[in-house]
């Protein structure tokens, strides 16, 4: 049996690696000795590496919305760092955050162009690099709102409920993972989704305590997720411990979608 969660010396790339959830993942990868490429907006990954004195993590800044330039960027990075063993795609070029009634067709299209299309382009580019080696694990991020709809009643007056373009794009990510899993399965590559429940940012937690109470109530476990809660599931999917798990949507939601 493979050692549990052994990622020591592995090459792992994380987009959105300096964000709310990404930074927790990158810090644990670094602690476990994985050679991590932390990809985020200019300056953010450097700041994370500096702040936590990460020893195995290289900061990088990609423009993930430049879908035409991405394959070349990925190929260049692979030349410098080696073909990744694992790839975690967390970055999300967020939606306009408008209410359903105000969302224009252009807004809707924008979300799909800036969030969903890069997920496909990145996944394919990385998979094609991994294919000759015959192994690799790619973890995409969906959302509970790609599975169930938000309840508008829990959002305080003036706050936009989780937007429809966000949910629709996250639902699409689930199918990306399934399709890619079947397509690249014979090449030994695995694609899975982590499907988080409520993991509101620190800002939302401070500014909307009533919403936090409502979000907590809707999970079976009665609490929102802490960034540390996402780490174990992501690492599980990256390691050989999940060698036979592919095309799966792993809910990390405190039971939100179980009832």
């Amino acid at each position: 049996m493979q050692p549990w969660h052994s990622l020591e010396g592995k090459q792992i790339w994380v987009t959105g690696g300096a964000g709310h959830l990404g930074s927790a993942i990158v810090r644990e990868l670094d602690a476990s000795g994985a050679h991590t490429l932390c990809i985020d907006l200019p300056g953010k990954a450097e700041a994370l590496v500096h702040q936590h004195a990460l020893r195995h993590t290289t900061p990088a800044a990609f423009d993930l919305t430049d879908v035409d330039g991405l394959p070349a960027l990925i190929a260049q990075s692979a030349q410098v760092h080696g073909v990744p063993d694992g790839f975690v795609h967390l970055a999300y070029a967020s939606s306009a955050g408008k209410r359903l009634e105000q969302l224009t067709p252009a807004d809707f299209q924008h979300t799909f162009d800036k969030a969903l299309t890069p997920a496909f382009v990145l996944s394919r580019a990385v998979a094609e690099l991994m294919k000759p080696r015959g192994s690799g694990s790619i973890v995409l991020f969906s959302s509970m709102y790609g599975v169930v709809a938000p309840d508008p009643r829990i959002y305080p007056a003036g706050m936009t409920p989780n937007p429809i373009d966000y949910g629709a794009s996250k639902a699409a990510v689930l199918q990306l993972a399934r399709y890619l899993a079947v397509h690249y399965g014979p090449s030994g590559l695995r694609f899975n989704c982590v499907t988080p429940g409520p993991f509101p940012s620190a800002v939302v937690q401070q500014t909307h305590p009533a919403l936090i109470g409502e979000l907590s109530r809707k999970t079976a476990l009665g609490r929102i997720g802490a960034s540390a809660d996402i780490v174990g599931p992501v690492l599980f999917l990256l390691t050989d411990s999940a060698a036979f798990v592919t095309g799966h949507s792993l809910a990390v939601d405190g039971g939100w979608t179980a009832w």
Binding site: M1, G185, A220, G232, L235, F244, H248, G254, G255, A258
Partner: protein, 254 residues
């Protein structure tokens, strides 16, 4: 990272062979103390002794998971031997042979649902009070891809595993306030003692190839695959994961 399950006490039903045996070893390797529960005394003893010889703390216990008195004794054994009980792995299961649904007798059907479904009820009846007293606990139920993508010839078995999946979610949502988690693993067809039962044909390379053809990763499930998934669910690092059913199936269900 070894010792992910350090100091946890786990009970594994059907621990004497197949998935269960692999789960016992994987848990022990991560520092858990194990009660190997099996209907087959010799099989349970063999696994417990193998664990002990590797320096692990383990004990075997004979149990028919469909009998309340046996399940009560099992939980008592764990608590008496180790002082607590943290994880219940409901792995013991059976199937009728792959055959037309009307050929399965009523007696076979009843036995199947006693072993595969009533066992979940009995494990709740006897484990939940202990978990509540301790302030938490963890159920890991071994269901099957049959619960999601049924194969013909296994209809009543498919239904029993569908029940396990829904019971897992029900346990999760009702027991969450007690800090009790419940998750299921759905393995696809594997090289375990039940292989021939599921295939319904003789175990030849050609027949295996037919089943492998439906799996994108191109192989049968291995006991270690299921054991690794069980370690993940038992691990405190999966604390926010409850009510999920994890396919360990090489992509069979997608």
């Amino acid at each position: 990272m070894p010792d992910r399950l350090k100091n946890l006490v786990a009970v594994v039903t059907g621990g004497g062979s197949g998935f269960g045996e692999s789960i016992c070893h994987a848990f022990a390797d991560q520092g858990a103390r194990i009660i190997v529960a099996d209907l087959n005394v010799a099989a349970g003893l063999r696994v417990a002794q193998a664990l002990q010889s590797q320096g692990h703390e383990a004990e075997s216990c004979q149990v028919d998971v469909s009998k309340s008195i046996d399940m009560a004794r099992l939980v008592e054994t764990a608590v008496k031997r180790f002082g607590r009980m943290d994880v219940m792995v409901n792995n013991a299961g059976m199937s009728h042979p792959n055959q037309p649904m009307l050929q399965v007798t009523e007696a076979e059907f009843d036995r199947l649902y006693q072993v595969n479904v009533k066992s979940i009820y009995l494990s709740a009846v006897h484990c939940v009070p202990v978990f509540r007293r301790q302030g938490g606990g963890n159920f890991i139920n071994i269901a099957s891809t049959a619960a999601v993508r049924p194969r013909p010839g296994l209809s009543w078995y498919n239904g029993s595993k569908g029940a396990v999946v829904l019971l897992t979610k029900s346990l999760a949502v009702e027991l969450a306030p007690d800090k009790i988690r419940a998750n299921a693993i759905n393995p696809s067809i594997a090289d375990t003692p039940l292989l021939t039962t599921f295939m319904g044909v003789v175990d030849t390379p050609e027949n295996r190839a037919r089943f492998v053809a439906s799996i994108p990763l191109g192989r049968l499930c291995r006991p270690a695959d299921v054991a690794n998934a069980a370690v993940f669910f038992a691990d405190p690092a999966s604390e926010f994961v409850t009510g999920t059913c994890l396919e360990v199936d090489g992509g069979r269900c997608i």
